[in-house]
Symmetry: C2
Subunit: 675 residues, 2 copies
């Protein structure tokens, strides 16, 4: 009898984690009934958060939080010592170190990775770990696929959504310490006094979590808000206006982080409108911010419409200024030279710009990777970029080391991720999209963490620790971004997207009077001879922007990494690839392998049903179904379109297209890039 | 030099057959430049056609056409003797025999099947080989997927479309000798004097091809056209009216064939409206037609809305009248007991109704097999029906023998096919749909011809004789209907179609106040226990309408043919099938195999590109792509819906669904069943 009773209880306990989940708890789903003993030698709002998180969740022996004068830990670092059985000490130089230490200890617990003896020292590799929100003041989110903006400007500053604190907590738990609240395509209105009071209200909520607020600014703000007749950065009145505006901000938000600037890019105003340079503009703003220790993150995403190779332009425009920026300016460079494609080689500015701080801008939101419909874990993309070797100072000069202050000794180091967060109750629109946010934070802290380890960490905290679940789910995540590359743009293809929304395929896209470099044909250059953009020495010679040996390897068709082949070369359809297949045949196989990968993910996920709550299981399953349809759509669109040039059959052993090209060319999705 | 020239000529010759084709020439694509010597002992319009076809196409020695008093040949038979090298004689009792002989000789030539010595005698197995057009007088076609009606009622009788003669020629070439011009859901107006003049004009065009015209009539015609107050078949005025109307028709069309009648079926009027029976109605019309040698084809497709098993009703209603019909009445019975499903067992009336002529009604138009979007060669379906053994007189009592006069000695024998022909320039909407028309004609002539041989015949004439083409294409055709069964309704499932248009899947279909037997749930009876309609002795006992040993075999779950399993049984989800799989698992495998078969057809077709003109190649390829999408749609809709009952996972080794059930349940195609 007793035995049956126990069995019953056991089943009940096992069934409990299967209750419905809406994803709102992210990876912070630890049991909050622990009542741990936690002591701290000092009181502060930040330390109070650390104490309360531990009290609620820590299941080991007592924890002591100590401020110590250990310079080696830096501002954000911490050490953890002792043992879960006898007592734990978290030590840090500053309160935020204690907070990060507390989250680290809890992460070890939740991922079942607690060693018997704790001897941990952690310091972040980037000083500033920043989310960029492309949120507009009207509540829409550019390239946002998780509902409307998190920031409820209409009800601020009086009403504070509980999501603001939840957002701060999630970011703090992975070490994010800054956030740019508004879109880089910035409205001048963000700097108006009423808006700044709203910004202050958010900053006040985020401050205890040690998250600084930054703002994207519009370079014409002095004219739009200050009634000046110019925004010329060398104009004294303009400089005065910015000085005054910055002072106004710091009166409201004493720990304000600084400005993110997109200038003279895609139609936005900038110093070039007045015959000045990016250097003039960035330094002017830097001078205004310097008295308050604020910084300028100046984006290098600039390209003029008529240059022969867009991929070369940022390098050409910024390299002449290297070493001439103020010390509180950092150049924010997208991971690749074009625009957040499923795969790009790293931007040649990384490693090349040595006398100026440079930061990587990663895109967490899946603008070019299927929105929040497709499962694409971007930890692998981020890792691929950060671990790319620039060879700037010989082998081992990775993008990570070229930006973390170790290769070039700049005190200002940072990394940015364009957020995928919105009003969606599950935050990111797709349960697995949370993992890319998580991975961004973890890599911003420790850029050498393997993406796979991060995936496992995230899975254990978000779904559960059963290895029968974690291992297949991690395998699925690890192949997911490569699957997108394969069914969208394998072998170095890029920007085959539909005009505007960047969701579906439109390699044939023609828009009257459009900028050529906004059209796919600019990038794929398909013709009867072959496919790809010749950026080698016989073409635009973008390869010359890279260091030896990359410049030579990538310049040569025979030695070029096939992942970037069509990025750097216009390759004949009949060219023999490493597989022994022709380019055309290899292309067909890659597209099919993308489709096959999605189907394999579907099978993997369905097998995991016993381990997942019904709600998230069904949502992911449904999204995977959409992804499988889209993968076939992509395959058919690209192969059937390129086939009009190659005039070769799709290898007969491969699955045949199920769409007709002329039908696909009629598809017009009613999508915007603003939610 | 000379050698190069020859090579060039050779290539030119080889390329010629690849010129664009619109399908309008059907299987009659013989070279028309032969100038053969042809002599005939008698002149007539029909013989003139035979002579001119041979003159234009026959490439052998001279042909002599002879009328001979050889009774064994019957009215339509012929013999062919002699040799292609020295001279050929075609002999027949009547002129149509010479026409059929001429087409037969040309078919042997075009299919490269001419023996050196000709010794052929052919007689048809059915006296009447009739197409049924479900064409409405407004130019629409019920269940027509090849454009509008062939008959241009608006411009008749003054304007005669050249398509009428082309239609007659195509039918004559395969032995079809009758056509019902209008829909069985007949408008009384077809019998109005103006319409009859139009019918006469068509009959005059068809007559030289020896094709008789028949009409579908509305049983209420005496009221609608004659202003009578009743259509009671026992009413003298009604009988007089029909007698007069028939005489009027025969004055215009002396060889008029007779009437096809759908009465008291799906809302149409009939004798039961007056307390009379089908027998009363059919015999009354038969009496009106008898003086002119006309016949009545009385359809057995009748079923009342509230009977417990629709599949049993025709048998129940008609068996009591067996032996009581006039000799010029024939009962027209659909191949299966329900309604032209992708697969049904044969109707139990075949073999059971022994003292009355019975004719098979086949559906050539793909109402339930994907319209003209899906490649489904129906030769195999027709063969399966005709070769089904009814066991009425022991083993070997096939449906064919039960209807061709051999098993039950009725002089009146016939077979009908519901046409798939319309205004489409390629006649049938899908190049391969022509093959089902062709196969109907060939089987109506000779019901023991293998469907595969017919497919090869048709392919050789329609596309070309290269065996590298014919063999794979024939294989594709031979598996095509089974593919449809698998992805739509395997294992005896039936009528899971969307309301109205019968194209897509709607196993969940609910329509307020609808007749239960027009809803899929009536047929599949899915519940948590299992799937299928119990028509065994524990259910509706429809099995009792079949002869031993079928009644016992099909009644027993263990011995029932699995092709009909869910037709006759409500089977538990966990039931072990012959494969060793559970019913649920087997169902999943069958649906997937249907999808796989379509993909295999796609691959097969693409490999055949070198052998096919670009126009038809692209059209078939495009249709196959649609079919592949639809097959996945069907698989997902049915499996996901039935899964809500089975509560079992789709076997993990199988490809996962790509649609969500709730999305699919929202799909409403804007389709009608009238073109």
């Amino acid at each position: 009898m007793k035995r049956y009773l126990y069995t019953g209880l056991f089943l009940l306990a096992a069934a409990a984690p299967l209750r419905a989940e809406d994803g709102s708890r992210l990876w912070l789903r630890g049991n909050a009934t622990a009542h741990a003993r936690v002591a701290a030698g000092r009181q502060s709002p930040t330390i109070a958060i650390a104490v309360s998180e531990l009290q609620a969740q820590w299941q080991g022996a007592a924890v002591q939080l100590s401020i110590v004068p250990n310079k080696a830990l830096g501002d954000d670092g911490f050490s953890i010592s002792g043992s879960p059985q006898s007592g734990v000490t978290i030590a840090a130089v500053a309160e935020q170190g204690l907070l990060y230490g507390a989250y680290h200890l809890l992460r070890l617990q939740e991922t079942q990775s607690l060693p018997p003896t704790l001897s941990i020292t952690e310091t972040p590799r980037y000083a500033l770990r920043i989310l960029n929100h492309w949120d507009n003041l009207d509540g829409s989110v550019e390239r946002g696929y998780a509902g409307r903006s998190l920031w409820k400007w209409g009800e601020l500053p009086d009403t504070l959504s509980p999501r603001y604190a939840a957002y701060a907590r999630a970011n703090a738990s992975v070490g994010v310490n800054g956030t740019v609240l508004n879109n880089v395509n910035a409205s001048p209105q963000i700097l108006s006094p009423p808006m700044l009071r709203k910004v202050k209200a958010i900053a006040d909520v985020l401050r205890p979590y040690h998250i600084r607020v930054y703002l994207s600014i519009n370079f014409s703000s002095p004219m739009a808000l200050g009634s000046l007749e110019t925004a010329d950065p060398l104009d004294k009145a303009v400089q005065r206006w910015w000085g005054g505006k910055v002072a106004e901000i710091y009166r409201l938000i004493p720990d304000f982080g600084g400005f993110l600037v997109k200038a003279n890019s895609e139609g936005l105003p900038g110093p070039q409108d007045y015959g000045r340079t990016h250097l003039d503009g960035a330094n002017m703003l830097a001078d205004a911010l310097a008295p308050h220790s604020g910084i300028v993150m100046w984006r290098a995403f600039v390209y003029s419409p008529n240059d022969p190779d867009r991929a070369k332009q940022a390098y050409q425009e910024f390299m002449p200024f290297d070493g001439k920026f103020r010390p509180n300016v950092i150049i924010q460079v997208k991971n690749g030279p074009v625009d957040f494609q499923p795969r790009e080689p790293f931007s040649p500015l990384f490693g090349a710009m040595q006398r100026t701080p440079v930061m990587v801008e990663l895109q967490i939101t899946q603008e070019y990777l299927g929105f929040s419909n497709h499962l694409a874990y971007l930890g692998t993309l981020f890792e691929e970029c950060l671990q790319s070797d620039t060879y700037a100072r010989g082998a081992g000069s990775t993008v990570a080391k070229a930006t973390d202050g170790s290769l070039f000794a700049h005190p200002l180091t940072a990394i940015a991720g364009v957020a995928n967060i919105g009003s969606d109750v599950g935050w990111c629109g797709h349960p697995f999209a949370q993992a890319s946010w998580y991975a961004f934070g973890r890599l911003a802290w420790s850029h050498s963490l393997p993406a796979e380890a991060i995936a496992r960490e995230w899975l254990r905290q978000t779904f559960g620790s059963d290895s029968a679940f974690v291992e297949p789910a991690a395998a699925m995540m690890m192949q997911s971004r490569e699957a997108v590359v394969s069914y969208m743009m394998p072998l170095g293809l890029h920007h085959l997207f539909a005009w505007g929304h960047h969701y579906g395929p439109e390699p044939w896209c023609r828009v009257p009077n459009a900028r050529p470099d906004w059209l796919p044909s600019y990038y794929h250059k398909a013709d009867s001879a072959g496919l790809g953009f010749d950026r080698s020495s016989t073409g635009s010679h973008a390869t010359a922007q890279y260091f030896t040996p990359l410049r030579e390897q990538w310049d040569n068709l025979e030695t070029c990494d096939e992942r970037y082949l069509l990025w750097f070369h216009h390759v004949p359809w009949g060219y023999t690839m490493k597989s022994g297949r022709t380019l055309w045949s290899e292309l067909c196989h890659r597209y099919q392998s993308g489709v096959d990968s999605v189907r394999a993910m579907q099978q993997a996920w369905d097998r995991l049903q016993p381990y997942v709550d019904a709600e998230r299981f069904a949502l992911v399953q449904s999204r995977l179904r959409t992804q499988a349809r889209d993968a076939v759509w992509w395959r058919d669109a690209c192969l059937l379109y390129f086939q009009t040039f190659s005039r070769r059959p799709i290898p007969y052993a491969l699955e045949r297209p199920v769409h007709d090209l002329d039908e696909l060319m009629k598809v017009k999705l009613e999508m915007t890039h603003h939610n």
